[in-house]
């Protein structure tokens, strides 16, 4: 009895050590953000720095707020658009009978396989020719293209769980399509919509490639702004850590709070 309890305690200890190791880079980054610059990159590391908020002041003095706002509008905007498009499509694919579901699904998911980089040249030149570079609306639209397949796929899985009897009952009652979707189906899959939305939001918030290439100033979101803290000619680790900390807070908090949705979304709800 004692030996098995000892073993359990041991496994718990190992678990905690491993988890803390995984969490360490994040913790260290946040810690570094509160250091003065000359104590940030030292060997041996400075464990008892003169804690300061200077770096956060510096980050906002460098005007980080507009970048965060850009990120927020591109992420929220694209997520909403994606959901508006994906939910009906997934509904058609899973509940309403559409022939060749497989073809449509295959098409959606296959677009996600293609490296965005493969068609970046035409995208860049097209945007440039309509004056769409450095424009948050166009970036948002492109994020819709990137996230739509994942959302369709996820929503289809969630909708497939809705008991058919419920819908058929509604149909027999003569419910119109709108009623059918909004009154009957949507409430059942609302957690799924939240999950898909969360995942799309995370991906959009964290996207770097398109953001970096297609924006300059007005529409520049946070990820490419972060790399500008790498200083060609001096110390920068503390202020970079502060900027990175600010940049990850919204998504990390959202993920922490909505853990259940995250699990549902990633496991795609379907596999039961």
């Amino acid at each position: 009895m004692t030996s098995s309890r000892l073993r359990a305690a041991l496994i718990t200890a190992v678990t905690w050590v491993l988890v803390l190791m995984f969490f360490f880079p994040v913790a260290w980054m946040v810690f570094t953000a509160f250091k003065p610059e000359h104590q940030a990159a030292t060997m041996p590391p400075t464990f008892a720095p003169d804690l300061t908020l200077d770096q956060f002041d510096a980050v906002f003095a460098r005007d980080m707020l507009p970048y965060l706002i850009n990120s927020l509008s591109a992420s929220l905007g694209s997520t909403l658009l994606v959901l508006v498009l994906a939910v009906p499509a997934a509904y058609a694919l899973s509940i309403r009978p559409v022939a060749n579901v497989r073809d449509a699904l295959f098409f959606f998911i296959s677009t996600r396989f293609m490296p965005v980089a493969a068609s970046i040249i035409p995208v860049y030149l097209l945007l440039q020719s309509v004056g769409g570079l450095d424009n948050i609306t166009w970036l948002t639209i492109l994020y819709v293209g990137v996230n739509l397949p994942i959302a369709v796929w996820m929503m289809r899985s969630f909708l497939a769980e809705v008991p058919r009897e419920v819908i058929e009952a509604a149909q027999l009652d003569g419910a119109r399509l709108g009623t059918e979707i909004f009154r009957v189906v949507l409430p059942i899959v609302l957690p799924g919509v939240a999950a898909a939305g969360l995942i799309c939001f995370i991906f959009a918030w964290n996207e770097f490639f398109l953001a970096n290439l297609l924006t300059a100033q007005v529409a520049r979101p946070t990820p490419p702004f972060l790399t500008s803290f790498v200083d060609g000619r001096g110390q920068f680790l503390a202020v970079l850590s502060a900027a990175a900390t600010v940049a990850i807070v919204p998504v990390v908090l959202a993920g922490w709070i909505a853990q259940k949705q995250l699990v549902r979304g990633l496991a795609m709800g379907a596999i039961k």
Partner: protein
């Protein structure tokens, strides 16, 4: 555009709820109307650029020499095939993606099992554990590069020093490993979440029955849990692969394509925006898409097999 969209739907009539011809036809129309906006958006945003990529790949066009531009046939493809960068980048992509996916899945399995047990502070441990997946990849790459793996002041070398090991020049000696480390760090929580969902979906009665029958924990795991988890593993591997095949951020930020880390995404970026070779870059893009289509078909067949029990074609 319209042709493209309706063809696949028209080929076979739907097997719908048998409520008469009229109603069935209407239902199909409604379904199409629901599907149409998403399909059209996807086509416009992904297929049209690709068609244009093909067009550019037949052009001789270096942006730094604006005067000298024209149709050049398959020349770009010839120089792409002769150069060897494509194959080595394909290899780099497979190596980086493959290793990271396998490592993430194995570690994810370990953490899923550990965090499925009940112990003090499990909720907090899970919360901390999912964090790396939420961290912005650009931020992750920057922090790993400058704070953890810096040869002179990084925490990794400090840790090695504590246990008496010599410092490592990570970026020079082990560039591929630095990328794999960061990717594995970010995607282990991802795999863990999926596998944890799998563990939680297990039938507790079966497990208890096995315990009553006297099967050891390891044997139960091997003969009951693992087979049950198979489809979750497949999903985790497939989704992680889709995302990691595109990996760009850590390479651009940490290694800049040195030491066998020049993945296809980075190669495409470099040809297009450093070399400014529009034609050549487009040819690389077309080749990449062709390869991806092959890979995607194989991967998707697997995926559909995973879902076949659930009845995709009902």
């Amino acid at each position: 555009m319209t042709v493209l969209m309706t063809t696949p739907t028209r080929r076979r009539p739907a097997r719908a709820v048998p409520t008469g011809q009229q109603s069935r036809r209407r239902r199909v129309a409604v379904s199409r109307a629901l599907l149409w906006p998403a399909l059209a958006t996807s086509i416009v945003l992904t297929q049209i650029p690709f068609v244009l990529t093909i067009y550019y790949s037949l052009q001789r066009w270096n942006m730094l020499r604006p005067g000298d531009r024209g149709f050049t046939g398959l020349d770009n493809y010839v120089s792409v095939l002769r150069d060897g960068s494509f194959l080595s980048s394909l290899g780099a992509t497979v190596a980086v993606t493959g290793t990271s996916v396998v490592a993430s899945t194995l570690l994810g399995m370990l953490f899923a099992v550990l965090l499925d047990r009940s112990f003090v502070g499990r909720g907090v441990a899970r919360t901390l554990m999912i964090t790396p997946f939420l961290v912005m990849p650009a931020a992750a790459a920057l922090v790993w590069k400058w704070s953890i793996l810096d040869a002179a002041t990084g925490m990794a070398n400090w840790g090695l020093g504590l246990v008496g090991l010599p410092p490592v020049a990570w970026n020079t000696e082990l560039p591929m490993l630095t990328i794999i480390l960061v990717l594995t760090w970010q995607y282990t929580p991802f795999a863990m979440l999926i596998l944890l969902a799998g563990l939680q979906a297990q039938d507790r009665d079966v497990l208890e029955a096995a315990a009553v029958d006297g099967a050891g924990a390891l044997r139960t795991f091997g003969s009951i849990t693992l087979p049950h988890l198979r489809q979750y593993v497949e999903i985790a591997v497939l989704l992680a692969s889709i995302m990691l095949l595109q990996v760009f951020d850590p390479i651009a930020i940490m290694t800049r394509g040195t030491g066998g880390t020049k993945t296809l995404s980075y190669l495409l970026y470099e040809r297009a925006f450093v070399g400014l070779e529009v034609g050549e870059a487009a040819a690389y893009g077309v080749m990449t898409v062709l390869v991806t289509i092959v890979v995607a078909s194989v991967a998707l067949r697997t995926l559909f097999k995973v879902f076949s029990t659930e009845g995709i074609d009902r």
